[in-house]
Symmetry: C2
Subunit: 575 residues, 2 copies
């Protein structure tokens, strides 16, 4: 197409509101237009990239025999009551009433809809396993949308749902999705995406992986091991149990610690390491109106996702406890003689289990106690893993102290859901013996817009989008110099343009009366993998100047050889 007609101008300045590289490039290049908080229009360039990503996803889904459907965005409360999620999910689920006063939602995911859609369509075991998928609009009322397309409210997602008669079948199909996802990320140009074990969160289920692009812009924390292939989301990452720092049991003794409230103060004051202390972290649980006190060795931090999973509470209902006049001796909290005016639940981290003798708060202003043994002194029965993994913790898999923490963007996820939805919604099939059984489910998601932005986080710099060839909005960008002034340039250019379009390439022709500098800068923001510069000087030598994705310098190509040159380049990028 002619660039003069392309809707979505490049902007001269880096957009002030951009918080991430991808956000800035998508705005500056004219790919997106913000309509409201977390709500965007995909302009023609953005839609082109998105459509290519969607087609790659569609091909890989079809290849593993998933069948495409289209489920609605708007759903009834009744449907979402099917597995109890209408009440269980917080205000990110957008609820409203239709004109008849019926309670409705905007779907942020489609497990219930998928089950309802196939409820009576797979009555015999012979139909299993099967998958349905869709590429469809979703809405999640994020409190903090951010980063352009990285975290939005309205988004296009590919979501798939598989149905099975056995765990073996689920595992087999799950593995097919696992591989298909790796193919998809490789084909869109970011093969470096890794699958990490993840939290199943509100989805329920027995296992899950997230596909993570490791990069600074990511808001997820990913634990990987430098010595083996262990990887997990920080939310679920485990380290091998620590060696106890204290091995000798002692009697409890009171220590006067005037105004010494923080762990840092205490380690300085007592001149001992944090490994010899137990700290208390206090939360308030809104749903049950309880205080939750977590005791953990003081060198460790509480992983709130693990804590929520243990307590079975969602993130809106568990908040840090504010200090107030509630009988709790803030700054000096300890396990022995704890006081509170509010009902309290205690959680003990694994790190305390084998410690013989720790120092903790005395529940009395300006005092701590030493010699605390949790099993002996508070009869703690159950020690659970609520600790965050730290850098250089010991890997559970290989046993080396080489765990590393990186930022990552989640670009996809796959879940073994189990029977949560099928059972709650009464989906059954008859097995080989004619007996009614409940199918097992898996579900599999990829956010299309986030994937698009993630590719930029991985590949682009602030001037150049560097789209991988498979998803660039155009294949070839023809940038003639003096196109509007020099008839010779125009004639050669028009012929080249017509011929390349005739060969089936997507060609953008910069027909504007702009300087070479402006044209090249815009070209870097559009990112066709092949740029052909037509100039009077090169025409004299029967050459085009060609610069391809990844080239540091332009190459002069004989005009006669250009079609072969382009064909070879394009084939070389096929994945």
């Amino acid at each position: 197409m002619l660039q003069s007609k392309l809707i979505g101008d490049t902007k001269k300045e880096w957009p002030n509101e951009a918080t991430l590289k991808s956000h800035g490039l998508l705005l500056k290049g004219g790919y997106i237009k913000q309509m409201a908080s977390g709500i965007f229009t995909l302009m023609p360039l953005g839609k082109r990239v998105s459509a290519k990503i969607e087609n790659i996803i569609r091909e890989e889904m079809n290849r593993i025999d998933a069948e495409e459907v289209l489920m609605p965005l708007v759903a009834t409360k009744k449907l979402w009551d099917g597995a109890g999620r209408y009440d269980a999910i917080g205000s990110e689920l957008l609820r409203f009433k239709d004109r008849t006063g019926t309670d409705m939602v905007l779907s942020m995911t489609h497990e219930e809809a998928a089950v309802f859609s196939v409820l009576n369509e797979a009555a015999s075991y012979t139909k299993y396993p099967f998958s349905i998928y869709q590429i469809q609009t979703k809405f999640r009322d994020e409190a903090r949308s951010r980063g352009g397309l990285i975290r939005v409210r309205e988004f296009t997602m590919k979501d798939a749902y598989s149905f099975h008669t056995s765990e073996e079948s689920l595992n087999e199909v799950y593995d097919k999705y696992y591989d298909a996802y790796n193919k998809i990320f490789a084909r869109v140009g970011i093969p470096e995406v890794i699958a990490v074990a993840s939290d199943t969160g509100m989805m329920g289920g027995s296992g899950a992986h997230e596909y993570m692009l490791l990069c600074d812009a990511g808001e997820d924390k990913i634990v990987t091991c430098d010595s083996c292939d262990y990887s997990a989301n920080m939310d679920v990452a485990k380290a091998r149990e620590t060696t106890p720092a204290t091995t000798e049991m002692k009697e409890i003794e009171e220590i006067h610690t005037p105004n010494v409230k923080t762990i840092e103060d205490l380690t300085n004051f007592l001149e001992i390491p944090a490994t010899n202390l137990a700290k208390a972290v206090v939360y308030y649980r809104i749903d049950t109106e309880e205080v939750v006190v977590v005791f953990i060795r003081a060198d460790k931090e509480v992983n709130e996702t693990k804590l929520r999973n243990i307590l079975k509470v969602d993130d809106e209902h568990l908040v840090p406890k504010a200090e107030e006049d509630d009988g709790i001796c803030y700054g000096f909290i300890g396990p022995v003689g704890f006081t509170s005016n509010i009902k309290t639940t205690f959680v003990y981290d694994k790190s305390l289990e084998n410690e013989a003798s720790l120092i903790a708060g005395a529940n009395k202003k300006d005092y701590h106690i030493s010699g605390v043994n949790f099993k002996r002194d508070v009869k703690a029965q159950e020690f659970v893993d609520v600790a965050k993994v730290s850098a250089n913790d010991t890997c559970v898999k290989c046993g080396k102290p080489t765990l590393k923490i990186s930022n990552g963007i989640e670009v996809g996820n796959i879940f073994k859901l189990g029977k949560k939805y099928t059972s709650a919604m009464g989906m059954t099939y008859l097995d080989e013996n004619g007996k009614a059984q409940t199918p097992i489910m898996g579900c599999y998601g990829i956010g299309v817009g986030r994937l698009m932005a993630s590719v930029l986080e991985a590949k682009a710099d602030e001037r150049r989008v560097n789209w991988p060839a498979a998803i660039a909005p155009f294949n070839i960008h023809i940038c003639p110099l003096d196109y509007t002034k020099n008839d010779g340039v125009k004639a050669i250019t028009d012929e080249l343009y017509a011929k390349l379009e005739g060969l089936g390439y997507e060609v953008l022709l910069d027909d504007r009366a702009k300087s070479a500098g402006v044209k090249f800068a815009d070209s870097d923001l559009i990112g066709a993998p092949i740029r052909v510069v037509v100039s009077a000087r090169n025409i004299e030598n029967s050459k085009y100047e060609v610069k391809c994705l990844g080239d540091a310098e332009a190459t002069l190509v004989d005009m006669d050889n250009i079609y072969e040159y382009i064909d070879t380049k394009m084939k070389g990028w096929e994945v």
Copy 2:
């Protein structure tokens, strides 16, 4: 694909809830699943047909240089305040609040979003004309969804918006869309769709066409002329002015008409035709709390769309007036001496303008008056066209009394919008003289799901979908008999299936252990344009039995010739 794996079983019985042929077939054939009132899942067969229709639309949009975008479904009140539609549209516009309490809507159309998306993208006249389009989800909170996909609440729509610097440019591009639409309807298999002049309704603007499929299932009334190509939606259809039935002026005289309240009673009582009477039709306008009395010649009916357009009131705010104790003498209302306790507006239809002497109510129980001349007696200044066209009215175009009224389904529409949205939202460009101007818009819609259902209304019978070849979910349906029992049949079938898939056809293989009757009945509901039956008996003669779309009988085709036979058939259907 293997039919045993296809999700979406055919149903044995005609669905009770089906109100239309298309509705019944889409449910019976497993194309759709109802999720809530007016909200459906497209199952794999439905999605396949929909995707083919979408691709045809996309090709024709691209061909006229419309650029594909994707605008969001969720929009802010603020955006919809841009042209005043947040307040102007009734409860079919679904309004809700997001988690921050911001007023939002689910978009049912995207004029405001389109203008906002391109607001700063076309600052110079050189960018014009241009079009953007999307194929996207919309929501309209219909009070009465009906007929499966004919009138739904959530739907996929192609909507396009064009922008212009002159009326000439709008007209030129409008004509391109006009032609593109005709191509689209021809390519999906219903070239019989006609474009009719239509009401611009809440969209504003200077002209519009609706694309109508004339069929009994339609809920629109379409006026066409049997003698020329005049066609219009009943909402805006005009007939040539009637010849006056009364030509002699008379004095007003009271007539005693005891208990004679209806026009029918009056024509019988006085033994005169309805053309000699004026009737009153009474409405109540909710927004201004006024009574609206329409006087019209008694052989005609009031066209409420015309009336609403004249009064500039939407359909929720103008309702038939209930008879109550309000000072109006119901049954005997007339123009002379009208009484009411409520503020009243009068509307006089064109049909009264040249009548010399009519009979009308006397505004007094059991009395009418004769000799009424509206110009003389009530000083009526303005006579407007609020009459419904009737069958055999005189055509405004050719002058023959051959107007006909048919039912039609609206499958698309095109509007000349003018500057309503661009002006209200402050979109401007600089013209050749550097002066800021407001662009002119057009907009162009096609409902994808409704189009799919309409094709069935036009082509199907209650047993057979008869999809046109271009949009059938599969190209070829192989129906082997005794596939699971007869190894010879299985071997031949598998080879045929593999080869046809290898040739790039979309092939459905009925691998189920079902009777020929069940297989053929299902095949009729799936509607691949080519059905190949493989049977032991025909294999003996080296034949396949082939039945194609439109064939009354099956044909025996030499096994060696099958590929050529299919190729010829498929090419014959290309549009």
